[in-house]
Symmetry: C2
Subunit: 168 residues, 2 copies
């Protein structure tokens, strides 16, 4: 598998997440409630609310791509207060991911990845991506999806997966 | 990245899922409720309950590994009624995954993957794994986690990620 292809999947899933937030916006309008009440919705009192799930998904994608490409991740402060702002955050993150090229990930599997939370230890690039970066990214994306589903937004598995490059 | 290493991550996440069910069992005992009430817990009335999330996670791992290795997936009927039975289902699935070897996945990226739900179309092995098999697997694992969190089981991000091959 190409590391770059997993980075592309990060971007695709973030665009899917944006589409779920669009569906949430349409749902709120149809039900005559303020969509931004969903920003602080959560599934457990000590689990991140929707805003933090979206911010964390963006950061997991951004830092994962940065660590594996050796590029510096741009700074995106967590200031979003509305669904519209969260969608802008996603667009900003996806825009940066789209500047990365396959060649940026040459040798990524063997890079030393030492994010601050590893407190001085490090992981091989491939171990980081498959055992931490990717599952952590999909954790936040899926939890955002579940928060929206729990609040009545009409989403299904194909909204989650998105378009597939099917062949005849 | 090695396809086989992503298959190993499936097994690892299933063992993590088993550990969350163990924590749920301890939690239920401490709170004096019957742990098996969680089997039908769900986050939305039209989303799968915990039993189906666990069964689907097992199947996603099993079929993903089977499609990419060309091995036949063993049959595991969805008959589990208790948390203990769901944990046995996980153990059975992990046991089968552990019979697979790196060599079984030679050429996996270019295999034609044509599961029934693609209705005659197919995906390249790598496209299937990165855009469908892996996100679908982590969807069910994460939703099972969220159902348990929503019901008060004391889980955190490191329970989700599990042990990492850290280096000094």
């Amino acid at each position: 598998m190409q590391t770059f292809h997993l980075i592309l999947e990060f971007g695709k899933m973030l665009r899917n997440l944006d589409a779920w937030l669009e569906k949430a916006t349409v749902h709120a309008k149809a039900k005559s409630f303020e969509v931004d009440v969903l920003v602080k919705a959560r599934l457990a009192p000590d689990q991140y609310s929707l805003d933090r799930q979206v911010q964390s998904a963006c950061d997991a994608a951004k830092f994962g791509a940065a660590y594996l490409s050796g590029k510096e991740a741009p700074k995106h402060p967590d200031t979003e207060k509305t669904v519209a702002e969260l969608r802008k955050r996603i667009a900003t993150c996806v825009g940066w991911l789209e500047t990365l090229k396959e060649a940026d990930f040459a040798g990524a599997e063997e890079r030393r990845v030492a994010p601050p939370w590893l407190q001085g230890k490090w992981l091989r690039g491939e171990d980081y991506l498959l055992q931490a970066g990717m599952p952590n990214f999909l954790f936040h994306v899926t939890t955002a999806y579940s928060i929206l589903r729990h609040n009545g937004v009409d989403l299904g598995k194909m909204d989650y997966i998105g378009a597939l490059p099917l062949r005849d």
